[in-house]
């Protein structure tokens, strides 16, 4: 069976881990597997620290939720990660110095994926910093010729995250009905 995924990306602290946990059926604790002096007999392996969650769907299907690793670097992992991805959730932290630059970075990095699928943007921490406004984001996006959903999102609120994902799905196909 194919692997269906929704990818969550954005700068460190934007709320990826929190968002995935808030809609995932099994919020897992990330496991790092580094060489340990207590487990010497084990072959040392390296796992990339990555957020992962899953939504169990009707009929036994699953949708996997992946968060990109924290570092702000575009590495080959991201390409691998997006295979089988049905869309991108971009979370931006409004308290960061330059959230527009963050937005541009991630839109560029995932440009091809977004072009093939769709993107929905959640602006987090707006309770802490109200500027830029959602309208400011739209104005900025217009210069890239994009009209994605941009919602104020508190990653701790399941309802906010759920609406963002719903908007992503309807962007892919407005004809979808429940």
């Amino acid at each position: 069976m194919s692997q269906y995924k929704i990818i969550f990306t954005g700068p460190v602290g934007a709320g990826k881990t929190t968002a995935i946990n808030s809609i995932s059926d099994v919020p897992p604790v990330k496991t790092d597997a580094a060489a340990s002096d207590m487990t010497k007999n084990r072959k040392s392996s390296t796992t990339v620290a990555m957020d992962y969650g899953v939504m169990n769907l009707a009929g036994g299907e699953k949708i996997h939720l992946y968060g990109t690793p924290g570092q702000e670097r575009f590495d080959f992992m991201w390409d691998i990660l997006t295979v089988g991805g049905i869309g991108l959730i971009l979370l931006l932290d409004n308290t960061r110095a330059d959230p527009f630059q963050d937005m541009k970075f991630f839109l560029d990095a995932f440009g091809k994926f977004i072009n093939d699928t769709s993107v929905a943007i959640g602006v987090t921490q707006m309770d802490l910093s109200g500027k830029p406004t959602i309208d400011d984001y739209h104005a900025q996006l217009q210069t890239y010729g994009l009209k994605p959903p941009v919602f104020e999102v508190d990653a701790r609120e399941k309802n906010d995250v759920s609406l963002l994902v719903q908007a992503l799905l309807y962007s892919l196909d407005p004809g979808l009905a429940e």
């Binding site: 269906y4 919020p27 487990t39 049905i86 919602f151 309802n159 994902v165």
Partner: protein, 409 residues
């Protein structure tokens, strides 16, 4: 989430980076229902060590030396049997955590060393609900200070902002039943009758909505707070923060919104500069985000009717998506938004394409129009400018299942 009848175990984490600590913390709060809280080393009853850390052995030795009587839980991908420790195999799950904590509790309960309620009361465990990062003592600011310009560059947390509960409210998602209950019914219109449908209109200018919108425009132009007086309650508009203040609940607002205003009512509408003198009288919880407010007001004014001023025969499209997480969501609103963001359609095309009831389409169009998110395309020209309809659907049945899950959850 309410605190359980038990006192949460207080654990300290070792050999984990910040990220993992945070995740662990949330995992304990959420899925584990607050069975344990993460505290500092000095306040902990139990130590939890990631045994896969390269220096786990050193950490373990150090912890044993520091607090010899404190139970230790080791987490590892490998099965570990180390004397005088408890073990949880990764990936960690709720059952394992609860089991091990139960074992520790049983082993130590007679001696009452751990989970001592008195001790817990002295140092209350971290609240189970996520807390906003507000400093403990909100300064006694006058409400108007809130709108003073913040210094450029530095972003800070405004405590007064956080006391305003209304603007942070999440969206209310309405099902069909909720919609009717919410909007009320317009008894004199039969929406099944296509002839009546075209005349199912209302005039925003003869309603509170029209006056609010015009007052809002003026306040924005003048960049100062204005007060709209009417036969009803005064409405204060703060353009800088994009907020309004109104001493009325939604039910009261809905009743007034739905009224067609006569000469008397319109005659008593006055817009005056807002006098900041009585700022202290204004309860923080009566502030509302401007857009959230106008959106609601438009829905209740429309009651499923079409606004005069738009041509029902011409295509409409959305300039941007509405900020749905902070708006009342009427049935099929997200689908309509997705369609109209991508391609202009006449209101009746929306009805047939998405199989949505006309009342829902009209109310949605009214609300988008009131927020200035909606345009009518002249002819083909705009249609060409607007983006292509989305054709990216990967797997309709999968997407539908995800939706079902999100809506059912």
């Amino acid at each position: 989430m309410k605190k359980g009848s038990h006192t949460p175990a207080r654990i300290a984490l070792y050999g984990m980076d910040d990220r993992t600590c945070k995740t662990m913390e949330m995992y304990l709060k959420g899925p584990c229902r607050g069975v344990a809280v993460v505290v500092r080393e000095t306040e902990a009853d139990i130590d939890v060590i990631d045994a896969d850390h390269p220096r786990a052995k050193d950490i373990l030795d150090a912890r044993k030396a520091a607090t010899p009587n404190r139970p230790i839980i080791l987490l590892s991908l490998q099965d570990l049997r180390i004397d005088n420790t408890f073990f949880i195999k990764k990936p960690v799950n709720v059952t394992q955590i609860v089991d091990v904590l139960g074992k520790i509790k049983a082993a130590t309960a007679p001696r009452k060393v751990f989970f001592n309620p008195v001790k817990a009361a002295e140092t209350p465990p971290a609240p189970v609900e996520p807390v906003k990062q507000a400093p403990p003592e909100p300064p006694r600011k006058m409400a108007m200070d809130v709108y003073a310009k913040k210094p450029a560059g530095v972003k800070h947390v405004d405590v007064s902002e956080q006391q305003k509960t209304a603007k942070h409210q999440s969206a209310v998602q309405l099902n069909e039943g909720g919609f009717t209950a919410f909007l009320g019914t317009v008894s004199d219109i039969d929406f099944e009758d296509s002839a009546q449908l075209l005349t199912a209109c209302y005039d925003p200018r003869q309603s509170f909505l029209g006056y609010v919108q015009s007052a809002y425009k003026t306040a924005n132009l003048q960049s100062r707070a204005l007060q709209l007086n009417s036969i009803w309650k005064p409405l204060i508009i703060f353009p800088e923060s994009q907020e309004i203040w109104l001493d009325a609940d939604d039910k009261q607002l809905r009743a007034f919104a739905g009224m067609t205003l006569g000469k008397n009512a319109t005659g008593s509408m006055v817009l005056v500069p807002f006098d900041n003198g009585k700022a202290a009288d204004r309860a923080m919880d009566k502030f509302q985000n401007m857009n959230t407010f106008i959106w609601k007001l438009a829905l209740w004014t429309s009651k499923g009717r079409f606004p005069i001023g738009l041509d029902i025969q011409r295509p409409v499209f959305l300039v941007t998506w509405p900020n749905f997480t902070r708006l009342v969501i009427t049935p099929d609103a997200l689908r309509m938004a997705a369609l109209l963001v991508s391609t202009p359609k006449t209101p009746l095309e929306v009805v047939s394409l998405l199989r949505v009831k006309p009342q829902y389409v009209f109310a949605f169009i009214s609300a988008c129009h009131a927020l200035g998110l909606l345009r009518q395309s002249e002819r083909q020209v705009d249609t060409v400018i607007a983006a292509e309809p989305p054709q990216k659907s990967t797997n309709k049945s999968l997407l539908r299942k995800i939706l079902g899950k999100l809506l059912g959850a």
